[in-house]
Symmetry: D2
Subunit: 393 residues, 4 copies
């Protein structure tokens, strides 16, 4: 077994274990909650990520592999049309069977099968399968973030305001305010070097940027409170037309989890909002309205990436909240999806969504990249999403 194989195997074990660690404090009932069609139960995430390894890696590449339970593919296939029929997304919370007590042993069986596969693969198999194992690992990390955001959405519907887990939220590191200047010009963005990247980050290509400024830090709760206090949610002129329609239809008056009395709902229960903490759980519409109100704008994704990879990157690029950009999620020039089922991973979602950059408090360590293109519909608020202001220079 080569060092690389050891490394891949070890990383895989760590990542897989982290998913279960996230779920460990939760009861089987907690792990079954589905707050809305867009969110999934914890147990479903634990199972889906295992199915992914079965369907993408072990089934096609491990000789003689048999799925743990053939009937489960239908339940835990998310959206891969080429991999067969799927249980309806809005009914993922209806799957009391298989139970959590069945899913966890499945996970371990998949772990063992992957370990054996890694140990025994020949060079050809490695060439074909290692990228898919890496993809499965990155995929599992994405679901680690969704475990948290989807659980938060579900617990938020409980009038008892329960805490998902004990303890204290991580402390907020406030950044220095200020503007940073970037000259722009003809710059390269997108993933180009070694290491893993999703297909949607490629190909690396050159774009033209005019000079611009980015805020050194994210918009804070206190700043967003000023927008709310200044009737931000009642002034149509600040909003994109679709956003204003949603504000009225949904009765939005504040970020998703803000609660009366200066509180916000978190995975640690109801907590006082920290004024200096980055505001979070905003839709793109709210981010854009705030920027309008502030006399600024959202950065384009190219501006964001260029600054983040510059010699003088702004603070809070990573680890606090995903940052809405003013860029629709369109394909990069000459973008090609991966071949096979994994080609459905990103490309087919490239319409009607907005790019977010950076990473959040829920993003697993080692998963973030400057070229990372996260994306959600403009009305989505249940992610750890906030904003950073930009200006023309």
């Amino acid at each position: 077994m080569s060092d690389d194989d050891q490394s891949l195997g070890a990383r895989l074990r760590r990542v897989r274990a982290h998913s279960e660690a996230l779920a460990a404090p939760l009861s089987p009932e907690d792990q079954a909650l589905q707050a809305m069609p867009d969110a999934s139960p914890t147990k479903w995430h634990l199972a889906h990520t295992s199915w992914f390894f079965e369907a993408i890696v072990l089934g096609p590449h491990a000789p003689g592999f048999r799925p743990h339970d053939e009937r489960w593919a239908r339940l835990f296939n998310s959206y891969y049309e080429s991999l067969g029929p799927r249980h309806p997304r809005p009914q993922r919370g209806m799957l009391s069977r298989p139970s959590l007590a069945e899913v966890l042993p499945w996970r371990h069986a998949v772990d063992e099968a992957l370990a054996a596969f890694i140990a025994g693969a020949d060079a050809d198999t490695r060439a074909r399968a290692w990228p898919l194992i890496e993809l499965g690992l990155q995929h599992e990390q994405q679901h680690q973030e969704l475990i948290q955001t989807d659980l938060l959405a579900a617990l938020a519907l409980n009038p008892l305001a329960p805490a998902a887990w004990p303890g204290e939220p991580p402390p907020v590191v406030a950044a220095e305010p200020g503007w940073l200047d970037y000259a722009g010009g003809s710059v390269e963005i997108g993933h180009g070097g070694g290491g893993f990247a999703f297909d949607n980050e490629t190909p690396r290509h050159r774009v033209l940027l005019q000079p611009y400024r980015l805020a050194n830090r994210l918009v804070s709760n206190a700043e967003y409170q000023a927008f709310v206090d200044d009737a931000g949610y009642r002034r149509a002129a600040l909003w994109l037309s679709d956003g204003w329609a949603v504000v009225q239809a949904q009765g939005w008056t504040a970020p998703l989890y803000w609660r009366d009395g200066g509180l916000e709902f978190t995975l640690y229960g109801e907590r006082e909002r920290q004024p200096e903490a980055p505001v979070r759980h905003l839709s793109f519409y709210e981010a854009a309205a705030f920027a309008e109100w502030a006399g600024a704008r959202l950065p384009s994704e190219a501006e964001w990436e260029h600054a983040a990879t510059s010699a003088t990157p702004p603070a809070q690029c990573f680890g606090a909240v995903w940052q809405w950009t003013r860029s629709s999620y369109d394909p990069y020039p000459r973008f090609r999806p991966l071949a096979g089922a994994v080609g459905e991973y990103n490309g087919k979602f490239m319409v009607g969504q907005i790019v977010l950059r950076g990473s959040s408090v829920a993003t697993p360590a080692g998963h973030a990249r400057a070229s990372y293109r996260n994306f959600f519909p403009p009305a989505a608020r249940w992610q750890y999403s906030g904003l950073r202001l930009a200006l023309d220079a």
Copy 2:
């Protein structure tokens, strides 16, 4: 402690224990499932029936009583406007907290408080509270049936077709076919004598019935299959207008849990349909269309009750399926709801619903009565509901 008190206490213990026995084979995940807004999770039923005793009996009548957890009233109040705000019905499945492990001890605490209350009450208290304890007991029995129908609706959404509990369904007792003649005339219906009845069964009153005939047995699966085979679901002329609209909008082609290959989904998993078994999980619309196709009609609720209490009652009145009548659920002449919060029990639902008579395989022993007025909206199919034919004589 009087004999009556012992009897009431003993019945209460047995009924309360039966609820838990129904739930015992189910995992906490099973007990959390909510298939649709009209149905509730098992755990919710277990909790709601306990809340009912706290809110209706113990709180108002037991000196010094304190609820187990004050915050839970909001979660487990079903529809009593006079008893405070309620968690939205469609989100009962979102209540992972309190957990089943918290709800069961609550049940036992309520049981103990009721036992102590029964043991210690003076005559005045008895006069006021015993009818409410009896109501709570009957109420719990109603929820025992709902535990089964709501669970069935939830498990039916799982592609694995899981069995709720092991073992075999109770054997079908087929009745002799044939018609029974009833002279009608001026007859009395409604509850009038001793023993418990819900307010909607009163007052006993006199109605005029013309001579009629009732089928000695319920419509069977085989008979209903003939209706299906005769294009019953594709011939508008057989249907009430609203029924036809639902057939088209929902794509109905058979009873709710019929499955391909002569199977039906049950709490024992997928099973072969027994031809002679009463057809079940029909809406009123389907029952009425079948009767039209059969050249017959549904009985009125007065006809049903008169026959069931006659010297020659038809077979299968009780214990198989609830039987749709051709009577809308209107108040009886001079009906008065009970005073206080329990006045919301029945009266406020007296519009837009159809009366069903009899009882079903899911009705607890001792709960049925000839004067019992069950009611559901005409499109409801998730109950154990079937039909018996009637004719003018």
Copy 3:
């Protein structure tokens, strides 16, 4: 030509002309408005009633008859499944073709064909066709009322509050307040004698009534205002459960066409509400809630009919507003629909609706009867619907 034929022919001419007289003050644009799926444009009513004569009378019974335009049957068939496919009800307002300028000549062609048919029919044909002509005439009168209610619903959506026609509304005749006592007993209701009746009024049959009282007059605007002022729309305890849900979902706070400043919207434009005028444009839910608030109840349809045909009928039975009863629209004992397509006229709607009795200001002269069973869903408000109180005696 017999006297009867002359009479039938003359009545037909008068009724047909009255429909056009109602439409005459309206522009083609007014006559094309469809406020909601339940309502139809004036032009559609004018056309549908003509189609009815073609499809029910002339086509089956007049030798050699050819429809004016065969393509129009699909457009103007309302709900007769047995008479072929139908244009979707919600899109009746999309039929700019045929134009009003085409529909009016069609009406006149039908009139002429009917006159010729009446003049030339032999005895056999008369026996078969006269009842259908009579049905068509009564049907047209029903649509004369709908022309007014549907137009009112459409004009009410125009912020200009336009008047449908010039002039003044008919004066309100206030009745004396008071209660009238009826002994009840075994009484007959339903149509039994000569003259026209719809099938749903038959057969005449005997029912038992306990002693009761009816208000001599209808509930007035002033009385209803007191209910509104007493928080009637904000007190759940007054409402049926379904009604309370509608109040909250729709935000109801007053009858449908009440407007600020003591005004109401009418076919004569916005007018001051007359305090002594019967309140109108109520749903059944509102009528029932008002009765609850007033410490009274709604009459059953049998009580209403018995009183209206007694020696001492209450005032305002006819000509002001239809009066909601506490009777669901169920079939009378031994009810049989008419044979053929006209069997779809009434029977297939006998579920989910409530009976109204009397007649309204919009009901054509000669159309009302004490045995008349009008029916609408409990949430319908766009008819001239009000209420009369009842009490147990």
Copy 4:
């Protein structure tokens, strides 16, 4: 009066007259039809464009100007939040008043007021108001296209398949097939020179294009038929995820107005589809699926504009169908909306929409430009929308 003024006045008269010429063959009933919330009645377009001149030009700039009827602003303001409340968009078809007979004189009164204003304005007024008159003129031209597309959508709902106007559709000019190569590089796009442009076409700016190829002609009916015949609408792999969801939910199997038997519905009634004619009434989803099926892609808007303004532009850029691009409708770098109410014209719609380029058979002469950015949601099909293929070179 200067030559410029004469020219502006003359163009204005011609444009205004053209709107009425489009409506002239239509009855008042035709002009009142609203097929769906996104479409508006012809009469509404005629009125709205007049309101625009009153609200944007005459009210703010013509001394002493009084609106024709102050109550009409509410009815005919489309979406300008800053100009007061608006009649709900889905109910534009409910406005039988003001009648067409009132709207046409209003148009003429506005025409006269504009003519007088143009004749009498001093230099300062001109500087401020001429750009707004030009905007109103261009705005009216946009509505001339919508008059046609919205009317087509309405007449398509009539089973009689009526023709909007007599005569023959304009002949199809087929282009030569073939691919044209463009070198790309650093190119300028956006409006930069003299003449009118909407704010969303600015500022002119430089972008980087890689070498690419464009089809010389639009995709034809025959080519699209091959896609349909090759199960294009049943193969998930060809579709963006959102598009596939719409295909299934809406049951799409062909372009919007294709009808059985090789026909399509047009403003000239049902007509045979011409194989060589550009396919039209496609959504973006269908355009993208076709391109995927064809092994090609949609051009970006920058590619389209660069080619259209090159020395060798492809055929059929203008006058046939608007061409979906693969560009979301995002703001250009440093885009600034116009000041005042007209700032709501374009900018607030810059999310969730896709750019179309070119112009269609319904676009008025003189209205098209290479820098023109039309935009619609990706599911919209009622416009004259088709596609042109692109390839990486």
